[in-house]
């Protein structure tokens, strides 16, 4: 039974997004997870329908404004207005600034920042009509600290946090919260590809002395999505093992 309403989770086929989708499904939300490919969407459907047959995977490419608009209109028609939207989908195109091409810059800004704008554009209007909603944007510690080789990613994530605070102010009076969760280094495919030496160097900077688990991000998202967090808005919750204590 899903009695808490609908939760939309973008980028739900693997890593943190998958953990968030599964956690929200287990918490009693009806979950629609998105992937950029048909096979990814099918994989999400299979994983989530094991929890509840109402859950689904859909194709959504937030880097494409027209596809996003069409897919989210379809979502609203098929499933109604989400109670919770988790903007998790994101990409990396790492390169040293001196070598970073404009394409690499644009790709990351377009998906990680403009993509969230597009999803919110489609979701906020129905949420205002619904008179409630919860938007959770998955940022990154890199948005706060910066990181050599990730000028594009850091800019997009810092931008995302500023965007979230502005949107939070605009729609707080309509009972809609907007928050960010900023993971540190989490064990996922995205961090798996880092060279061993770099992983060791990262571990040395984490007071908790281990990488985070995707489930630990999902737990924070689940809290922000719960009724316990209705008075929290415009915040960025850092989940990083003490890596950056601000």
């Amino acid at each position: 039974m899903s009695d808490k309403g609908l939760a939309l989770v973008t980028g739900a086929s693997r890593g943190i997004g998958r953990a968030i989708a599964e956690r929200l499904a287990n918490d009693g939300f009806k979950v629609v997870g998105t992937a950029t490919s048909e096979s990814g969407a099918a994989q999400i459907s299979e994983a989530l329908q094991g929890i509840n047959s109402e859950n689904a995977g859909i194709v959504l490419n937030i880097s494409d404004a027209d596809q996003t608009d069409a897919a989210l209109k379809q979502l609203l028609a098929d499933h109604g207005t989400p109670a919770v939207v988790v903007n998790n989908a994101g990409i990396t195109r790492d390169n040293l600034f001196l070598r970073m091409s404009e394409e690499e810059w644009d790709a990351v800004i377009n998906t990680n920042l403009s993509g969230v704008f597009r999803v919110c554009k489609a979701m906020v209007k129905p949420m205002i009509k619904q008179k409630s909603g919860c938007i959770i944007n998955v940022s990154s510690i890199i948005g706060t600290t910066g990181n050599a080789g990730q000028a594009n990613y850091a800019a997009a994530k810092a931008g995302l946090e500023g965007f979230s605070r502005s949107l939070a102010q605009e729609i707080a009076s309509r009972n809609i919260t907007v928050n960010c969760v900023a993971p540190g280094f989490i064990q996922t495919d995205m961090t798996e590809i880092l060279p061993e030496t770099q992983k060791e160097a990262i571990l040395a900077t984490i007071p908790v002395k281990r990488l985070g688990q995707a489930g630990e991000i999902a737990g924070t998202v689940a809290f922000l999505a719960s009724s316990d967090a209705k008075y929290i808005t415009g915040q960025t919750i850092h989940v990083n093992g003490g890596m950056n204590m601000g």
């Binding site: 209007k125 205002i128 009509k129 605009e170 729609i171 009076s173 309509r174």
Partner: protein, 77 residues
């Protein structure tokens, strides 16, 4: 025509939480009826729903009084 006028005024009352006798054709949503900028966006959304029409943002921005909203609906329905 008067039907549209009544429907528009009813929505204005509902959305802005004002009394019907306070809503005049010349009333400005912001200056007379106390709407903030988000209220006016919501008001347009409610009008779109009531009259099953889409009001483009560039038109919506020009609807600042009750009469302007009534005229727009009549012209575009």
């Amino acid at each position: 025509m008067s039907n549209i006028e009544e429907r528009v005024k009813k929505i204005v009352c509902e959305q802005l939480g004002v009394k019907e006798e306070d809503v005049k054709a010349s009333s400005s949503f912001v200056d007379d009826l106390g709407a903030d900028s988000l209220d006016t966006v919501e008001l347009v959304m409610a009008l779109e729903e009531e009259f099953e029409t889409e009001i483009p943002d560039e038109d919506a921005e020009k609807l600042t009084t009750v009469q302007e909203a009534i005229d727009y609906i009549i012209a575009n329905l």
